[in-house]
């Protein structure tokens, strides 16, 4: 489903702001944009996963992108939004929310207008970036949402949040149905 969308809207991006910088996500992975609702904190988890929200009866985890990128905690303003995205996590499609200071617009960019990510000099890990676009004289950092929200990133963080090394021989939980 998501894959089909990406082919249709391959050159459309949702732009948003994190601490005065412009970022973008391919519209194919974006499901909807919500106003900031009340987030329920889940204890003993990494700081940057802020908690869960009720999205029409489902518990959806919300990630603070600013904290993830080391820009400090997102503060609640009238413009703060939650971007609901769908990512592949261990081959399962998972719905997550990402906090943004504000959401700008849906912006069209041809692939020819997109530069490859710079090797260095960006504030965030190069592997999270698929490319750099431009809007007027401002750069847009196009994020690879599946990399940002990869299982490793989220579970590494989860272990850190627990504050203790894993017991030896511990493996990823096996689903009972497997």
């Amino acid at each position: 489903m998501a894959a089909e969308d990406t082919t249709l809207n391959d050159n459309q991006y949702l732009t948003f702001v994190l601490e005065n910088e412009l970022f973008a996500l391919n519209i194919g992975s974006v499901r909807e944009v919500l106003e900031l609702t009340s987030i329920t904190k889940v204890p003993r988890t990494p700081e940057f996963i802020r908690g869960v929200i009720n999205l029409r009866g489902r518990a959806v985890p919300v990630v603070d992108l600013r904290m993830k990128f080391g820009m400090g905690e997102t503060r609640r303003t009238v413009n703060t939004c939650i971007i609901i995205v769908e990512v592949e996590l261990d081959g399962e499609s998972t719905v997550l929310g990402a906090l943004a200071d504000s959401v700008q617009e849906v912006y069209e960019m041809e692939s020819s207008q997109i530069e490859p990510p710079p090797r260095m000099g960006t504030r965030i890990k190069a592997e999270f970036i698929t490319g750099m676009g431009k809007s007027g004289d401002r750069f847009i950092v196009i994020l690879d949402i599946n990399k940002v929200f990869s299982a490793e990133e989220l579970t590494l963080a989860a272990d850190a949040g627990r504050g203790q090394p894993l017991a030896e021989g511990r493996e990823v939980a096996v689903d009972a149905g497997a």
Binding site: T40, P43, R44, V52, N54, P61, T94, A151, A173, A176
Partner: protein
């Protein structure tokens, strides 16, 4: 999906069910080789698979099944005894049909190896032609049975001297009633008026219709000693064979003529009158009214006995519903329950009596709706037990052991999802009992036990949960070996003092196996740790207990449903949590003098209860209130307190999964939606306790 695909899918589903039934019937036949009903069931299942298979284009399945069916047709007609060899082959055939079904899903058609295997099974079955002498096996006894349910018409007229010989006609009626389904019609029209009546003579007689799985002579035997003292007529009016002319019932006139109450000529005349026959005959006085009524009783009885015999009537009328639809329904009911509790809060906050009354009514309705919706998803666990029967049979043969599987509590109902996800762990636990628990016959003899071992599998309801026990009478666990292994693996400090039960439970640790040799049975790369995790993912718990030399018991406790629980809402700081009410025993205030920095224990009516402060464990900021509260819960047999800021109250809690990201979070089992639409987290109290113990809190 095309119409054709849908049909094929429906066939697959149906065939899968039939194969399950087939297996259960075959295994039951092992114990009762002459049970005609089971033989018919096997035949019917085969027959249906063959017929629908041919209809939906599974020709290979139809052709194969046809051959098996042919053999069972002979069994059905009493030409072939049920023997172990035959059952083995038929079971193999059943597995083969299953393979063919699965192969039909793949595009490249059946695998030649599979076809070859099928050929082998058929060759074996073809040897069972009635011409060939049956092998040296003791043929199963075929008692004089009637195929299915036969119907008899009995006219029982005690003679004048019947009482004088000390007989009571009622006793005979009681004996008949014990044979099957009996209807009787009392003819009292010959009872004289009081002054003429001889109290020592029986003036009444009966027309009886009996539906029973008995032969003619068995019916006759009832009256063996009084045949000379009474008028007796026994006719078989329906022999219980498959209904060739299903739905055709004898007409009233026919019955009366057969009984000899009416001549055929009179019948023809009465029929010419073009009214309801019963009325005509009664009005014309050709037949006494009572006899007509007796004949009508017969008509009705035969109709009902036949109806009961139709296979469709075996199960209550039911419809097939896609599981997703049920899941959607449960979700909707969950949402409704949430809205209902919101309305209840509003109603209680205001002072509008009408609203309060309506809200109470709504609560009752939504409770009932919740219960019946969850009830729809409930299935008896017995459906999975049958597959274990097969497992025990095959595996014990493979390992050269003699093991009986004894099951009880098949009717215990559990949520469909729980049953589905429980299958694998239970299989593993059973394999474990057979492989490591029960000894070989020679070893058992040496230790003075009967050579045949037993594995008990039982299920029962206990409060809000289901308890499943797997007990074997095998060699039991060796606490010393487990201890040595644990020390060797560094899981246990050498000086640790553990009671046997705690030692036994170490086998649920990852990579822990005390089997000297890894067999291909329990090994298979999964250990008891996976079983434990699978059961815990169902919010259940598993524990093990064993007496060396006498056996091992594994107890699995599971919640009834995964969708909705009764919860106790609590608050700590600005966060809300829900504890499963089934674990909560009581709530008390935390005495000031025990809330200090020292030991975290409270004295509850003389009992020492340790507690966990949720605020500390979850790292919640802020100051606790002056008086905190303790939720006393029972976890795995011991009591533990959870200290919270305040207890809010009971709420129906719809469980939502927290998803993959939070899978490893300790102490939480899910989330729920509160009355105001925000989320609250559901506590996993046993997990919380474990995590607290591990972190030395």
């Amino acid at each position: 999906m095309s119409q054709d695909d849908m049909h094929r899918m429906a066939f697959r589903e149906e065939a899968g069910e039939l194969l399950g039934e087939l297996e259960a019937s075959l295994l039951a036949l092992e114990d009762q080789p002459e049970d005609q009903d089971l033989i018919n069931r096997v035949f019917r299942a085969m027959h249906t698979i063959k017929g629908s298979g041919a209809m939906f284009g599974f020709e290979d399945i139809a052709a194969f099944t046809h051959e098996v069916e042919t053999v069972f047709d002979k069994v059905r007609n009493g030409l072939l005894p049920v023997s172990k060899t035959l059952l083995d082959l038929t079971l193999a055939a059943r597995d083969h049909i299953k393979l063919l079904l699965e192969a039909a899903d793949t595009a490249d058609g059946p695998d030649p190896a599979i076809a070859l295997q099928g050929q082998g099974i058929l060759d074996g079955l073809r040897r069972f032609s009635p011409a060939a002498p049956v092998q040296a096996e003791a043929p199963a006894v075929m008692p004089e049975t009637v195929r299915g349910m036969a119907t008899y018409r009995i006219r029982f007229k005690p003679g004048p001297g019947f009482y004088a010989t000390g007989n009571n006609p009622l006793h005979f009626l009681e004996d008949l009633a014990e044979l099957g389904d009996m209807r009787r019609y009392l003819h009292a029209e010959e009872v004289p008026c009081l002054e003429d009546m001889d109290p020592e003579v029986c003036h009444v007689w009966w027309d009886i219709i009996l539906g029973a799985r008995k032969s003619y002579s068995q019916i006759q035997d009832v009256f063996a000693f009084v045949e000379d003292d009474c008028e007796l007529a026994i006719d078989q009016i329906d022999n219980g064979e498959a209904l060739s002319d299903a739905g055709v019932y004898k007409k009233l006139g026919e019955i009366l003529v057969e009984r000899g109450d009416l001549t055929p000529d009179d019948l023809a005349q009465a029929l010419a009158a073009q009214k309801r026959l019963g009325t005509v005959l009664a009005d014309s006085g050709l037949v006494a009214k009572s006899k007509i009524e007796a004949a009508l009783v017969e008509q009705e009885a035969v109709r009902e006995i036949r109806k009961a015999r139709e296979p469709a009537a075996e199960s209550a009328s039911s419809i097939r519903v896609a599981a997703e639809k049920l899941d959607d329904l449960v979700d909707l009911v969950g949402e409704l329950v949430i809205v209902q509790s919101q309305i209840k809060q509003e109603a209680l906050a205001g002072n509008d009596p009408t609203l309060k009354a309506l809200s109470e009514h709504l609560e009752r309705l939504s409770d009932d709706l919740r219960d019946s919706t969850l009830g729809i998803r409930m299935l008896p666990i017995g459906s999975t037990f049958s597959r274990f029967r097969r497992l025990v049979r095959d595996l014990s043969a493979e390992l050269g052991k003699e093991i009986d599987l004894v099951t009880s509590g098949e009717e215990t109902e559990l949520d469909k999802t729980v049953i589905e996800r429980l299958g694998d762990p239970l299989v593993h636990l059973l394999r474990n009992s057979i492989d490591h628990g029960v000894e070989r016959p020679d070893e058992r003899r040496a230790s003075g036990k009967p050579p045949r071992g037993t594995v008990f599998l039982s299920a029962e309801h206990s409060g809000g949960s289901v308890v499943i026990r797997i007990t074997d009478d095998g060699r039991g666990l060796d606490a010393r070996a487990i201890r040595a292994k644990a020390v060797e693996r560094g899981v246990l400090p050498p000086e640790a003092e553990l009671c046997d039960k705690d030692l036994f439970n170490l086998i649920f640790l990852p990579g822990f196996s005390t089997a000297k040799a890894i067999t291909n049975v329990s090994g298979r790369g999964v250990g008891m740790d996976v079983v434990k995790r699978a059961i815990e993912s169902l919010r259940g718990a598993v524990e093990i207990d064993s007496v060396p030399g006498q056996g091992t018991t594994i107890t699995v406790r599971l919640p009834l449903t995964l969708a909705i629980i009764d919860g106790l809402q609590i608050q700590t700081g600005r966060e809300f949590y829900v504890a499963p009410l089934s674990l909560v025993e009581e709530c008390v205030d935390l005495p000031r003098d025990e809330a200090g920095e020292g030991d975290k224990i409270i004295n509850l009516r003389g009992e020492i209860v340790p507690y966990i402060r949720l605020r500390d464990f979850f790292g919640i900021d802020g100051c606790p209130p002056d008086v905190e509260q303790v939720v006393v819960s029972s976890v795995e047999g011991s009591r533990v307190g959870l200290v919270v800021d305040r207890v809010i109250g009971e709420h129906q809690t719809v469980i939502k999964s927290l998803g993959r990201i939070y899978r490893d979070v300790e102490g939480l089992s899910g989330a729920t939606i509160k009355g105001d639409g925000t989320m609250a987290l559901i506590l996993d109290v046993p997990g919380l306790l474990r995590a607290a113990v591990e972190s030395g809190n």
